[in-house]
């Protein structure tokens, strides 16, 4: 095992200088076809997610719908209409926002739990480490999706979500964010912990300890900055998983019809039997969105992994 990619300089955390290395970093990333393609696809969907109203107007409801019932694509409705006469184009573009925002928030929660537990577990070690990793292994083994279904149902029943909103997002969707975080942090924690274990043994951590820095300060100021590359690459891959989980949860009926995500649209399409009726326009657009975004995150994640953590990559 060679030393990890950490400059062992003057007891200071590695200066991962965003200003100094940013240009070079993006040149390296975009020189790879997977990095460039992933970034480009995500850029398009991010723009759609930020300003869906700009492209298709505000989200149509059963009241404002003007189209025919389950009409095929036409000049007026390029992607057809649903069973209530709403434009599928309108619904799909607005669903982009919900899917991306839920995926984003769920990623933050997941990576936050995973990184904190991973660093503490790796740095503190001993009984706490053994306990936390047992719990992580437990979550890695069990079918977390079934747990997520049950948790979502119970939490919603207990909270009685109704139509309350937090930051403009309905509480029922916030529950999904939290549940994804609870059920998917373990892989991140495992990776962060193993890297923390090797960082802990390096000279600059020892020096910080000798000059009297507390454990918390060492973890925050010396260990965490050196893990940022790993955390970013991991977050991008987690994003893909979070979008898939949200989609699947919505598909089994846990979505919110008032703020439809792609998964919610697919659930609606299945419920009215769109595949059996030949109404492909109902689910193909949302499905394409999911596949493209998850594919792009996977491409970008593996590209980032190679660019940011050159020593961690295995032979390809």
């Amino acid at each position: 095992m060679t030393a990890p990619a950490v400059p062992v300089g003057a007891g200071q955390p590695a200066a991962a200088g965003p200003a100094r290395g940013a240009g070079q970093f993006f040149r390296k990333l975009f020189a790879r076809p997977d990095g460039l393609a992933g970034f480009a696809i995500l850029a398009v969907f991010t723009i759609l997610a930020i300003a869906p109203g700009l492209f298709v107007g505000s989200l149509q409801t059963a009241v404002t719908a003007t189209g025919p019932r389950l009409g095929p694509p036409s000049f007026e409705f390029p992607l057809g209409t649903d069973e209530l006469g709403r434009s599928i184009l309108n619904l799909t573009v607005h669903a982009t926002r919900i899917s991306m925002v839920i995926g984003f928030l769920a990623t933050i929660v997941t990576v936050l739990i995973g990184a904190v537990l991973g660093i503490v577990s790796g740095y503190v070690g001993g009984r706490l480490d053994a306990f936390l990793m047992r719990v992580a292994d437990f979550f890695l083994v069990i079918p977390t999706f079934v747990l997520a279904i049950i948790l979502t149902a119970i939490i919603r029943d207990v909270l009685g979500t109704g139509s309350r909103e937090v930051f403009g997002i309905r509480l029922s969707l916030i529950v999904i964010v939290v549940v994804i975080g609870i059920t998917s942090w373990s892989a991140t924690a495992r990776i962060i912990r193993s890297q923390t274990l090797s960082l802990r043994e390096l000279a600059f951590v020892d020096r910080a300890r000798v000059v009297g820095a507390s454990g918390g300060r060492i973890m925050r100021r010396h260990i965490l900055p050196n893990l940022m590359n790993l955390i970013v690459a991991n977050a991008v891959l987690t994003f893909a998983g979070a979008i898939l989980t949200e989609t699947t949860l919505s598909f089994v009926g846990l979505g919110d019809p008032f703020q439809p995500s792609w998964g919610q649209l697919l659930d609606a399409a299945r419920t009215i039997g769109a595949p059996g009726l030949g109404a492909w326009w109902y689910f193909v657009p949302a499905g394409t969105g999911i596949v493209l975004v998850v594919f792009a995150f996977t491409l970008l994640g593996s590209a980032l992994d190679d660019v940011l953590n050159p020593k961690l990559q295995t032979q390809r």
């Binding site: 083994v141 079934v146 089994v252 595949p275 059996g276 689910f283 596949v291 996977t298 295995t314 390809r316």
Partner: protein, 325 residues
């Protein structure tokens, strides 16, 4: 295989199962919002007396620990998982047993097809790295890997059942039909099975191919492969006798670890095709908030996955002497 390895693996599995049982208890009994409310569901006009009677009837007036917990563990071990709300009070065990067969059939076959296809595709692309099969195979694997199972299922349903009319659209057999003999029954079952099976296999094949490819590439760089080549053995022989057996090792673990994720796919694929297995049961129980059934499904699937992982660990121990410590 060393006894210590065996004991440690079995102990870990038992510990995990104990945690699952504990979690199941905590989730459904100790949640804020009182279980008797959940028991009574959304029944309107519940009086204080009814609430009190319910509490006594279900032992909820006794302390959570040890009384309720001991009673719960006792009945779980005896195989008593309570009664379904939605299925009019039938025992959960009975409801689960009825749905187990179709799921095992669909996912057992699906796993088998995916493993065979995925390993073959992955091995070939890794061996002929940069070739045309590798190029398209790898791209296809990545796209399949990014596609939720149910979406794949909806696509296949649209094209092959609705569009071309080759296969029936839902169920396990044609409803209300009588069969002249077992062969007719099997033909009907096969026609219904084809599309769900294709969905499951395609959904899984990508990850097995990706793993097998990188495993083969890694193995081909090993010294013993170079030695075999230096001995003048033909490429095909090197691949079959020297590289492949070692490259297959990581897939054993992956197949087992994957089972946890396959469950999520199982649930959604069954829903798309109305396959009468545990997946449709889960979704029906979810919309009816039939908690005893959900709890039973979670318990059954978790323990199945843990046991499968235990078996994989033991098989791995037999295959690879390096881990027997």
């Amino acid at each position: 295989m060393g006894a210590r390895y065996l004991v440690r693996r079995v102990a870990t599995a038992l510990f995990t199962i104990a945690l699952i049982v504990l979690l199941n208890f905590v989730l459904f009994r100790a949640m804020p919002g009182s279980p008797e409310r959940i028991l009574l569901g959304r029944m309107p006009g519940v009086t204080a007396e009814v609430l009190a009677t319910t509490r006594v009837r279900w032992g909820l007036d006794k302390p959570l620990f040890p009384d309720q917990f001991v009673a719960y563990v006792g009945s779980t071990v005896r195989g008593d998982l309570g009664f379904s709300y939605a299925a009019r009070g039938r025992p959960v065990t009975e409801v689960l047993a009825q749905r187990l067969g179709p799921t095992l059939l669909l996912f057992g076959l699906g796993e088998l097809v995916a493993v065979l296809l995925g390993l073959a595709l992955g091995a070939y692309s890794g061996w002929r790295r940069g070739g045309i099969v590798d190029y398209f195979g790898n791209g296809l694997s990545l796209i399949l890997y990014s596609t939720p199972y149910f979406l794949l299922g909806m696509g296949l349903l649209l094209v092959f059942a609705t569009g071309l009319g080759w296969f029936p659209t839902f169920g396990m057999v044609t409803a209300g039909s009588t069969y002249a003999g077992p062969l007719e029954y099997l033909a009907d079952l096969g026609a219904h099975l084809a599309l769900p099976l294709a969905t499951v296999s395609l959904g899984l094949v990508g990850q097995y191919a990706i793993l097998m490819r990188s495993s083969v590439i890694e193995t081909l760089a090993e010294d013993y492969v170079t030695t075999a080549r230096a001995m003048g053995l033909r490429e095909g022989r090197v691949l079959r006798h020297h590289a492949l057996p070692n490259a297959l090792l990581p897939t054993v673990t992956l197949v087992a670890i994957n089972l946890g994720y396959v469950v999520a796919g199982a649930i959604t694929v069954e829903v798309v095709f109305n396959w009468p297995g545990l997946g449709t049961l889960t979704v029906d129980a979810l919309s009816a908030r039939d908690y005893p059934v959900l709890q039973g499904v979670f318990l059954l699937l978790s323990i199945a996955v843990v046991l499968a992982n235990l078996v994989a660990d033991l098989v791995y121990g037999v295959l690879d002497p390096r881990v027997r410590t």
